[in-house]
C-alpha cells in the first residue's frame, strides 16, 4: 500500500492543500518553520487515530491523538478564521484498489467543546462504503458517537480493515543519538511510538534472533562502505541486568581491535544504524525527519541510493518513504525528479506547495540536480542583516 494523494484543511500551517501527489519516495523541503514536520504529522495523526486502543502511552483514537497535540486549538491552522473544521483526506493505492479516507473534526461549540467528527467517509475504487458515511442516522440520535471515529473502532471498520491496519503501522523516525547513548541517566520516560529512537535497542531485542542477526549483518555490510573501521556489529544482552546493547569491534593497531557499545558509537553511526534498521522493519509508510543529520557529506549524497538499495535487497522493495530535508547534497542525485519533491513555501495565508517554476525546470533540463534547482529558493533572505544588527 502507498499513499498517493494527501489533502489538508486547517491542519497546522496548512489552510488548504489540495491533493498533493506523493510518490514511492517523496522529499519534503522548505525553509525553517514552514511546516515540513507538520506535513508528516498529518500522516502520524492518522496513525495515532488508527492505533489500537490500549494503555498509555500507546493508546489510539481521535481524542487521544488530538490531546497529544495539546488540543484542537493548537492543531488548527492559525489562518483558519470562519471555517473551523480540520480535515485530512488521503488516497491510498492498494495493488489494483484505490481507497480514499476522509476525516473532518471540530470543536462541538457547546458544553465542554468536545472534539467531534464533522465527517468520516471511506470509498473504494470510487464507490462510497455506505456503512461508513458519517454523520449517519445513528450519530443523529446519539451525538456522543461523534467523539470516536469508525477508523479506530474494530466493530465499525471491518469493511476497510486493511486501511486501518495500514495507518496504524505508519512509522516515524527522528533518531536522537543522545537519547540512546544516555538512556540510563535520562530514565525510562518514552513518548508514544518512540519517535526519537529511545527504545530502539528494545525494538532490536524484541526481534527474533534470526531476523535480528540477518538485519545486523546487512547493516554491517552497508557500514563496511562508510565506516570501514567498524566491524562485527552484533547484539548482546548485559549479563548482569539483561539490558539490550549493540556492540561492534573497532579495528585499530591491536590485532583484536576494541569492542565498543552503542554509547561509544559516533552520532552519525548510530543514526545510520537506526535508519537502516527502520528501513528493514516492515512495509508500512516510513516517515524520516532530516536523515542527513550527523552524517558526512559523501554519505548524505548517497542516502537516496542507500535507501533504494536497502529496500531493494529486502522483502519490501516498494516500501514508501517520505522524508524531510534541508540538504542539497541529498538531493543532488540526478535520478530524482521534481515529482518526488514537495516544496513548501509560507504565504500570508498559510503554507502552500510551490512546484518548480519554468526557469527552475530549465535548470533541470540543463543538468542541474533538483537540490541545486529547488533548494536555494527556500533559503532565508537577509542573513546579512543579522551581522549588521549586531545579533
Amino acid at each position: 500500500m502507498k499513499i498517493v494523494k494527501l489533502s489538508l484543511k486547517n491542519w497546522r500551517n496548512f489552510k488548504q492543500l489540495e491533493e498533493v501527489p506523493l510518490q514511492e519516495r517523496s522529499y519534503v523541503i522548505g525553509a525553517n518553520a514552514v511546516g515540513k514536520s507538520n506535513f508528516l504529522d498529518a500522516l502520524r495523526f492518522l496513525r495515532d487515530v488508527a492505533a489500537p486502543a490500549g494503555t498509555k502511552p500507546e493508546a489510539g483514537g481521535l481524542q487521544e491523538a488530538i490531546k497529544r497535540r495539546e488540543g484542537l486549538a493548537k492543531l488548527r491552522c492559525l489562518n483558519a478564521q470562519k471555517e473551523t473544521e480540520v480535515k485530512i483526506e488521503v488516497t491510498v493505492q492498494d495493488g489494483g484498489d484505490v481507497w480514499c479516507y476522509t476525516l473532518g473534526f471540530k470543536g462541538e461549540g457547546k458544553g465542554n467543546n468536545r472534539n467531534v467528527i464533522t465527517r468520516e467517509s471511506v470509498s473504494k475504487n470510487g464507490n462510497r462504503l455506505l456503512e461508513c458515511q458519517r454523520p449517519d442516522a445513528a450519530d443523529g440520535t446519539d451525538p456522543d458517537r461523534l467523539t470516536t471515529t469508525y477508523l479506530e473502532n474494530p466493530n465499525a471498520n471491518k469493511a476497510f480493515r486493511p486501511l486501518a491496519h495500514y495507518f496504524a503501522a505508519i512509522t516515524y523516525l527522528h533518531l536522537v543519538p543522545q537519547l540512546l547513548k544516555h538512556a540510563d541517566e535520562l530514565g525510562g520516560n518514552r513518548l508514544q511510538r518512540d519517535p526519537f529512537g529511545q527504545g530502539f535497542l528494545l525494538r532490536i531485542a524484541e526481534t527474533s534472533s534470526r531476523t535480528r542477526d540477518a538485519r545486523l549483518r546487512r547493516i554491517q555490510r552497508a557500514l563496511d562502505q562508510v565506516v570501514p573501521q567498524f566491524k562485527q556489529l552484533s547484539f548482546e544482552q548485559d549479563p548482569t541486568n539483561g539490558s539490550p546493547h549493540l556492540k561492534a569491534n573497532f579495528s585499530h593497531w591491536r590485532e583484536s581491535g576494541a569492542w565498543q557499545r552503542e554509547s561509544q558509537f559516533s552520532d552519525g553511526t548510530l543514526r545510520l544504524i537506526g535508519l537502516l534498521w527502520s528501513l528493514m522493519e516492515g512495509d508500512s509508510l516510513l516517515l524520516l525527519e532530516e536523515p542527513e543529520l550527523s552524517l558526512n557529506l559523501e554519505i548524505v549524497r548517497r542516502l537516496p541510493q542507500l535507501i533504494h538499495l536497502v529496500l531493494k535487497g529486502g522483502k519490501y522493495p516498494d516500501r514508501q518513504v517520505i522524508l524531510t530535508t534541508h540538504s542539497e547534497p541529498l538531493l543532488s542525485d540526478l535520478s530524482l525528479g521534481t515529482e518526488s519533491i514537495i516544496r513548501l513555501v509560507s504565504t500570508g495565508n498559510g503554507t502552500v506547495i510551490a512546484p518548480a517554476n519554468e526557469k527552475e525546470k530549465i535548470m533541470l533540463k540543463s543538468g542541474f540536480s533538483v537540490g541545486q534547482a529547488l533548494l536555494p529558493a527556500v533559503g532565508p533572505a537577509g542573513l546579512e542583516q543579522l551581522a549588521l544588527a549586531g545579533v
Binding site: 535548470m363 533540463k365 540543463s366 542541474f368 541545486q372 536555494p376 546579512e384
Partner: protein
Amino acid sequence: MKLSNQVFLAAEDRLGLALGSRLVGEQPALQIWRKDDSGGCVKLKVDVGKYNQMAGIGYPVLLLTDLDRRPCCTDLLNSWLGEGRKPNLNFLLRICVREAEAWLLAHPAPLARLFKLSVSRFPTQPETLADPKAELLKLAAKAPAKIRKALLPAAGSSATIGREYNDVLCPLVRGEWDIEEASRRAPSLQRARSRIRELALRVS
C-alpha cells in the same frame, strides 16, 4: 527562441553577487531571478557546462569569477570550457582581474571613508595588483579597530578573511560604490558592463 530578460547570477562569494547585482541593475531591461553563491570557484567550474546550456535554451547567465593567479583570461576560459571553446553568446562568463576586490578598489572613496584613510593611499590601477584582496586587507589593517576586526582574520588563523568581511563590504557595493567611477580604473569591469549592455539590447 525568445531570449528571456531573467538573468541567473552566479559568483564565488557574496561580494561577487553584490557586484553582479550592480552590473545587471544598470540595465532596466534585465532582471535577476536567481543569485547563487557557490562558495569558491570549484563548484562554478563544475557547473559551467550547465550554465552554458541554460543560456543556450534562452535563459541568460552572468557568472563572475576571479582570474586569481592565472596568466590571462583565455587561459581560464580554456581550462573551464575546453581548449578553444567559446561560451554561448548569452552566457556571460566575466572574469574579475584579478579578483572582485580590484573592482571595489577601483572606486576607492567609499572604502577610504570606511577605513578613515586618505584616497591617495589606495592603488590607482587596482587591476595591475597581483593580490587585490591582500591589498584591501593591508589597508583595512590601518582602519579603526571595529572595521579592522570585522575584515581581518584573527591573528594566527589560516582563514583569508575576517568573519564579517562580506557583511561589511556588500552593503558598500550596494550603496556608495560608483560603478561608472570604478570602471574607469578597472578595464575588466568596463568590458563586463559592455557585454551586459549588449545583452540588454538583445533582450529588448
